[in-house]
């Protein structure tokens, strides 16, 4: 039972980490390699709001999410917009910006170990006799809410429908008067806020460290690559596949191998089936 | 290698993409030294068929035989090695390289090294000279700047010839032309027709996909007509154009445009 419950929680956590990246790539074909950095940035901003500015926790969370969204918006406006469509430039520029944010935070003095976000409650619930703390339940709750929210947003709201239209066929959507530039900005901002959301629910489980930024980027890449870059269904299914795989390696192997599993998943998927498990036919064209 | 059999044979070749049947059950033979035309309206699977022959796609079903040898699903570069080369409908020159260097690339291939390239010229001279020789034959003025210009700056007429040159450099047995006449003016086509005849007279078997029927019929003695991926008929040009299904599928709509 342990495996089912904790594997499930791990999977939802992965989904939260990866969803922002997947959304941005799915909508705008923008690989946001600053994703992990925005994740860590939100954690530290929330921490600073609570501990330095003395804001109440919920307000600090909302503030931090707003900062993350704003950071994404600026990232798009000043960096990605100028090099839109040049895929390698997008990768290198966003990766460099992410590196600058992470190492900047490190230089600033956020060395980790001493920074932590408070949990919502320290209580422990029992599911089928397995103890699960409330924070982990919150992770699952937020994950579920996110899925439902995104589903409803892309189905019923006008902006969400525009996002979906662009994801399916950018040129056709542009001809119908959907501004690809504005949706791109919206997508990056939303994706960054989602990275932030993952950060504020997952960070309370441990402490905020810079290295998490690199880790989250790799996790997000692993989930998206295995699921198929740009496929949302694939992202969900892949996070469950990898989440359970990770939990099993931790439970029965060495925790060191957790990362090896993710990295191998990326390499093997790209070599064997570059379009991922659920990628569209289109991405197959990436192969010669 | 048998001297008597067909040089190229397609047996029930089908190519499906998911549910789309781009090519369905196409069979025909090409005899050595022939010029065969393939006609059909847009989307009738002509280019897909070429991709199946040249190894750029692996047919879902059916066989492609070259000199009686099964080459189905062989990688594209191996097919080219055997001596089947093709031009691309959307021209694919190496834009930043000078025109003549575009031909040096195929001259570096194992086949060209083995056979000496176009008419064995590469056995003696260096590759640059052979490339310039081929270009001159195709109508590039040797002493002008044209052969030395970056391929990306050349006009369409020259690019089409460059595509042909890239194939000829390999010293092929079969040349497959994917719409070499499209996008050219009447006078440019008029100068290409004798060129293609000359290439054929030098022993090459040629398979031509064309929309420009009048010009095609000046060189091709046999025509295969496709519609919706299926072969409707084949035979001499007059017979094929007279075929009711061909008129219905192709000429009826196309004639007004001509």
């Amino acid at each position: 039972m342990d495996i089912v419950i904790y594997g499930f929680i791990q999977s939802v956590a992965l989904l939260l980490m990866a969803f922002g990246f997947s959304l941005v790539y799915g909508v705008s074909r923008l690989p946001n390699f600053a994703h992990g950095a925005l994740y860590v940035l939100t954690g530290f901003v929330a921490w600073a709001f609570v501990n330095r500015a003395g804001w109440p926790y919920p307000l600090a969370v909302v503030g931090a999410l707003a900062v993350a969204g704003l950071a994404g918006l600026l990232l798009y406006q000043f960096v990605l917009k100028r090099i839109r469509g040049m895929e390698m430039s997008e990768v290198i520029a966003s990766y460099a910006i992410g590196l600058a944010i992470l190492e900047g935070l490190r230089w600033w003095g956020f060395r980790g170990g001493t920074h932590a976000l408070p949990t919502v409650s320290d209580g422990v619930a029992f599911l089928f006799d397995v103890p699960v703390d409330h924070q982990r339940l919150l992770v699952v709750g937020v994950g579920a809410a996110l899925l439902v929210g995104i589903w409803a947003y892309t189905r019923f709201s006008k902006a969400g429908l525009a996002l979906r239209a662009i994801a399916q066929d950018e040129r056709a959507a542009m001809m119908l008067g959907i501004d690809s530039d504005r949706t791109g900005m919206l997508a990056v901002a939303l994706g960054s806020a989602l990275a932030g959301l993952a950060a504020v629910v997952i960070f309370p489980l441990g402490s905020i460290v810079i290295e998490e930024g690199y880790k989250v980027l790799i996790y997000a890449l692993a989930v998206c690559v295995v699921g198929g870059l740009g496929s949302w269904v694939g992202t969900v299914l892949a996070s469950f596949l990898l989440g359970f795989a990770q939990y099993v390696t931790v439970a029965y192997g060495k925790p060191h191998y957790q990362m090896v599993v993710m990295l191998l998943a990326i390499v093997v998927t790209l070599v064997v089936r570059p379009s991922g498990l659920f990628g569209r036919q289109k991405s197959l064209e990436e192969r010669v | 290698m048998s001297g008597t059999g067909p040089i190229l044979e397609l047996r029930n070749v089908s190519m499906h993409f998911g549910g789309i049947r781009a090519v369905e059950n196409v069979s025909f033979q090409v005899e050595p030294g022939e010029v065969v035309g393939i006609i059909g309206p847009n989307g009738s699977g002509k280019t897909t068929l070429i991709n199946c022959i040249t190894g750029f796609l692996k047919p879902t079903r059916g066989k492609v035989l070259f000199h009686g040898r099964d080459i189905t699903g062989m990688p594209a570069h191996k097919v080219a090695q055997l001596g089947i080369t093709r031009t691309f409908q959307i021209m694919r020159p190496y834009h930043s390289l000078p025109a003549y260097k575009n031909l040096v690339v195929p001259l570096c291939s194992p086949r060209a090294r083995r056979t000496g390239g176009w008419r064995g010229g590469g056995r003696h001279g260096d590759r640059d000279t052979v490339a310039l020789d081929i270009l001159e034959e195709l109508g590039f003025e040797r002493d002008s700047r044209v052969p030395y210009q970056a391929a990306g700056t050349l006009p369409t007429g020259y690019l089409k010839r460059l595509e042909l040159g890239r194939c000829l450099a390999l010293n092929p047995e079969v040349l497959i032309c994917d719409e070499v006449f499209s996008g050219l003016s009447a006078s440019e086509i008029a100068s290409l027709v004798p060129l293609i005849r000359r290439i054929n007279e030098q022993g090459l078997t040629i398979l031509m996909i064309e929309h420009r029927l009048r010009e095609l019929f000046q060189v091709a003695r046999r025509v295969v007509a496709l519609s919706y991926g299926e072969k409707i008929t084949e035979g001499p040009p007059e017979e094929v154009t007279a075929h009711p299904k061909v008129r219905e599928a192709y000429l009826g709509s196309e004639e007004e445009g001509c």
Binding site: F78, V79, E87, M88, V91, I92, A93, Y95, A96, I97, L99, A100, E103, R106, W107, Y214, I218, L221, V225, L229, M259, L263, L264, I266, V267, L270, V271, P274, E286, R287, V288 | T54, F56, P75, A76, H77, K78, A80, T85, R86, F88, R92, P93, Y94, H95, L97, Y100, K101, V105, P106, L107, C108, S109, P110, R111, A112, R145, Y148, R166, L170
Partner: protein, 339 residues
């Protein structure tokens, strides 16, 4: 209408190029000097570097780091701008070369020269074979997968505790003198850069460039694209592995830091700043970046911030890089003309 007289800048090529890019028409010694001057300056400059810096051992070391990074950058530039494979895993070549040299030296007791030579040749082979399955991938997919290779090596070495685990190897033989150390490396760099340039100008190099421009045409020409890419990968591996192997012998130890991200991102920055596609540009870029990062060493991770921002800036503003700019200025007259 504009009342001012219209003027525009006219650019005229110096007329020493005849017909094609690689054919020159030289009619005087002056023109010969004009053509060879920059190259000689570069070569003589690098050869003189250890002599000039001899009084300052610290900067002498920095100069050698410039060469090491330069080699990794040239390898990146070659793959990205000549072959069309953007690899984010420069550290993989470096690390494999380093570890191979360390193993050869410590386990078999090979002297540095042999260990470095063998590590370069064998290491490049290992890298090429390991990366070969990813060669059909393009663009972002190839970038992601190559980014993972060095990370995977680090994690496997850590988790399985092989190859010395997190400790790595120590007690590797150093060089007999400072001068052999310096000149071996500098010669390696010069041979690497100019050898690769020469190779690209040959017909075999032409095929590599053709693959980048249009791989379909290359396949239709009867040449295996995968084969060409594999060869190119091996060549790039030679440079990266040589750098890694040399570095290991310079510092007499190797650890998992040989696969560090720094070594993947700095070469990209050096290439973008120096001018991609030129092979010499990345060396110029390293010549700027390495001393800069030494000056900033006291500020810890701030130096990473600085060079990441510089990199992002160069990418975002689509700069052509220093060397490309300088070459254009050098080869053209400019003057204002009335329109």
């Amino acid at each position: 209408m504009n009342a001012q007289p219209q003027r525009r800048k006219e650019r005229i090529d110096r007329g020493i190029k005849a017909r094609a890019e690689t054919i020159y028409a030289l009619s005087s010694l002056e023109e010969l000097a004009y053509l060879l001057g920059p190259r000689l300056l570069f070569i003589v400059g690098f050869l003189a570097l250890p002599l000039i810096l001899a009084p300052w051992p610290y900067w002498h070391r920095v100069a050698l780091s410039v060469c090491v990074l330069g080699l990794v950058s040239v390898s990146f530039d070659f793959l990205a701008n000549q072959v069309g494979l953007v690899s984010l895993g420069g550290a993989f070549f470096f690390g494999v070369g380093g570890y191979t040299a360390a193993l050869l030296n410590t386990a078999w007791g090979l002297p540095p020269v042999l260990a470095i030579g063998l590590a370069t040749v064998v290491g490049a082979g290992i890298c090429a074979v390991l990366i070969a399955p990813c060669l059909p991938l393009r663009g972002i997919y190839f970038a992601i997968v190559t980014l993972m290779y060095p990370l995977l090596m680090t994690r496997i070495i850590e988790a399985a505790d092989i190859l010395g685990g997190t400790e790595g190897f120590r007690g590797i033989t150093g060089f007999s003198s400072v001068w052999t150390e310096a000149y071996g490396l500098i010669l390696g760099l010069l041979v690497g850069v100019f050898g690769l340039r020469r190779y690209l100008a040959e017909d075999a190099g032409l095929v590599i460039r053709a693959v980048k421009e249009n791989d379909q045409s290359v396949r239709a020409s009867g040449i295996s694209v995968a084969g060409v890419r594999f060869k190119a990968l091996y060549l790039a591996g030679l440079l990266g592995c040589f750098a890694g192997a040399y570095y290991v012998h310079m510092y007499r130890s190797v650890g998992i830091s040989a696969f560090a991200l720094d070594l993947s991102i700095l070469p990209i920055a050096a290439t973008v700043i120096g001018g991609g596609g030129t092979l010499v540009g990345p060396v110029i870029g390293s010549l700027i970046l390495v001393p800069l990062s030494e000056v900033l060493r006291d500020f810890g991770s701030l130096r990473i911030v600085v060079y990441s921002l510089v990199l992002a800036g160069f990418v975002v503003f689509r700069s052509e890089g220093i060397l490309v700019f300088a070459t254009r200025k050098y080869q053209q007259f400019e003057r204002w003309v009335e329109v």
